[in-house]
């Protein structure tokens, strides 16, 4: 997995609440058996019209946000389907961090497995950063994972909370399965004990 340390980049504002994973990557793009190549279809139904042409008003189609690496979004981002295609599509487009007041649980977890940092901040902070993002491509935001801060283009800084294990894995690009495999002995002994206690499982 790609490491995440510090990122300074363009942030795109998406103030809509309850942006669900169907919006992030509509189901017709889930028929792939690969993880890559989904970026062109990120937000497909908001981004293109029926004929497949770009809708100029959509934020990521605007020239100043085409290279966005950060999204500042409304409440409850990533709700709905568990599809990991959502973070795959964000990542493939180039988004490395999403900032909101809240995220749906499964989406939040899925981000960390793909080198994306979801950041939860209080409403006031998100409001400030949303305004900052609206300034366009000259306003570059900085996300610093090590110090757990987001800094707006005019230097206003906000700290965010993060689970220490998730942070460790993201900063070092660690693969969960490899880490868990190191604890195989615990799993073996749990399995042995559980098969005594609940043999019907």
């Amino acid at each position: 997995m790609e490491k995440f340390e510090k990122l300074t980049g363009i942030a795109a504002p998406m103030p809509l609440v309850n942006i669900d994973t169907d919006m992030i990557i509509p189901k017709q793009f889930l028929k792939t058996i690969k993880r890559s190549g989904l970026g062109v279809n990120l937000f497909d139904e908001m981004r293109y019209d029926d004929a497949g042409n770009e809708i100029p008003d959509f934020v990521l189609n605007k020239p100043q946000y085409r290279d966005a690496e950060i999204l500042v979004a409304g409440d409850n981002f990533g709700c709905g389907s568990s599809r990991e295609h959502a973070p795959w599509a964000l990542k493939d487009f180039g988004i490395r961090s999403v900032i909101s007041t809240s995220f749906a649980d499964i989406f939040y977890n899925n981000c960390f497995k793909n080198g994306i940092l979801p950041i939860v901040l209080p409403r006031e902070a998100v409001d400030v950063l949303m305004k900052d993002a609206e300034k366009g491509s000259n306003a570059r935001m900085t996300v610093d994972l090590e110090n757990q801060t987001v800094t707006s283009s005019d230097g206003e800084s906000f700290s965010f909370e993060l689970d220490s294990f998730k942070k460790h894995c993201l900063m070092n690009g660690l693969d969960d399965i490899g880490l868990t495999m190191e604890k195989a002995a615990s799993i073996d002994s749990f399995e042995a004990q559980a098969s005594q206690a609940r043999p019907w499982v």
């Binding site: 609440v17 169907d22 919006m23 058996i33 568990s82 990991e84 809240s102 615990s186 799993i187 399995e191």
Partner: protein, 467 residues
Amino acid sequence: MSPKTLYDKIWDAHVAHEADDGTCLLYIDRHLVHEVTSPQAFEGLRMAGRSVRAPDKTIAVPDHNVPTTPGREDPKNMTEDSAIQVAALDKNAKDFGIHYYPVSDVRQGIVHIVGPEQGWTLPGMTVVCGDSHTATHGAFGALAHGIGTSEVEHVLATQTLIQKKSKNMKVEITGKLRPGVTAKDITLSVIGETGTAGGTGYVIEYCGEAIRDLSMEGRMTVCNMAIEGGARAGLIAPDEKTFEYVKGRPHAPKGAQWEAAMAWWKTLFSDEDAHWDKVITIKGEDIAPVVTWGTSPEDVLPITAEVPKPDSFEGGKVGAAKRSIEYMGLTPGQKLSDIEIDTVFIGSCTNGRIEDLRAAAEILKGKKIAVKRAMVVPGSGLVRAQAEEEGLADIFKEAGFEWRLAGCSMCLAMNPDQLAPGERCAATSNRNFEGRQGRGGRTHLMSPAMAAAAAITGKLTDVREMM
């Protein structure tokens, strides 16, 4: 011993390892797999030279994008990309030696219907699947939740999941339901009350007289939508109804093992003074038959209400409501019961079980549909067979419904069953997101009885007027 909730008890019985910071490896008893969220996980295993740790506890079934029309055993009758995914699942099931129900098997169906039906889902278990509606299995008092594809791979390889414990939330539905009010109305009303993020960070336990009174089918409907309220999982404590449902199922324990299992299952309830981080109480008698008007499952109102005015909301929801109403082609103030529909969809893991079909057929008996298209998609081949045996299929067909083969179908419209742009559907499924049932399609969520009533009148209808 300090008092525990049901969630605490199941959690404690499955912790295989706990790190100092509270991060746990939770042992997984059942892993359900389908064709859409698993190919990349199996590919990952192959690339790393890993095997499936517990193939005996892993069950696969194609459901999300299979056609629901006859002849689907032949890949030529599927779109090319669907056929590739189904073929990949066939191959992965064979290569890794996991249990498998191919489309040609009468037991095939929606993964969350097949699991309980075959007795794979049992009280006190941990159950996961690369699908958010895994919450359904919580109806058995099993800790069940959806996971992403990387986690699917993690469970395949290690039979564990890296987890931190959620908080405990109790949702109590007291007293009795009024006539015409169903499990679907309960679960939608709860989301209407808490919002789609109200359960974030929690595992919900549903309890109270109205929940106890529900059949297992109804309880599955309630737990199914826990995720729509943002919760990690929904739970209902097992009781005699649960044991009765489970007994004799193909993969349920038998003989001495059944006795041993029962002894443990009977301890699976929340202790009297267990600690709850959040409690919500709703009176059963206050719940009405509801429908959704917008594009979020929290956009719920009684069928007797009107399309709301966006200004009646607060914050970001004002804009969202405006957008929803526009997308849905509605006018604020319009009566919900005046909304005309084109299509009716009865099915999905929320309401595709035998009891749901019975409820709809009851309303449809001897009547004809007044919509362009109506379809019933039974949740599994076995539900379909039973409905045929009970004569329900004939009622549907005579009314003008299409009688389909099992699968997810128009719940998410990955297969050919889709709404055209602007088409409006009365659906028994669980999501009314923009484009969920087809690009530009408009979805109103409701119970099977309400969907049947809408099929007859051609508009959203209060089912109580037909009872």
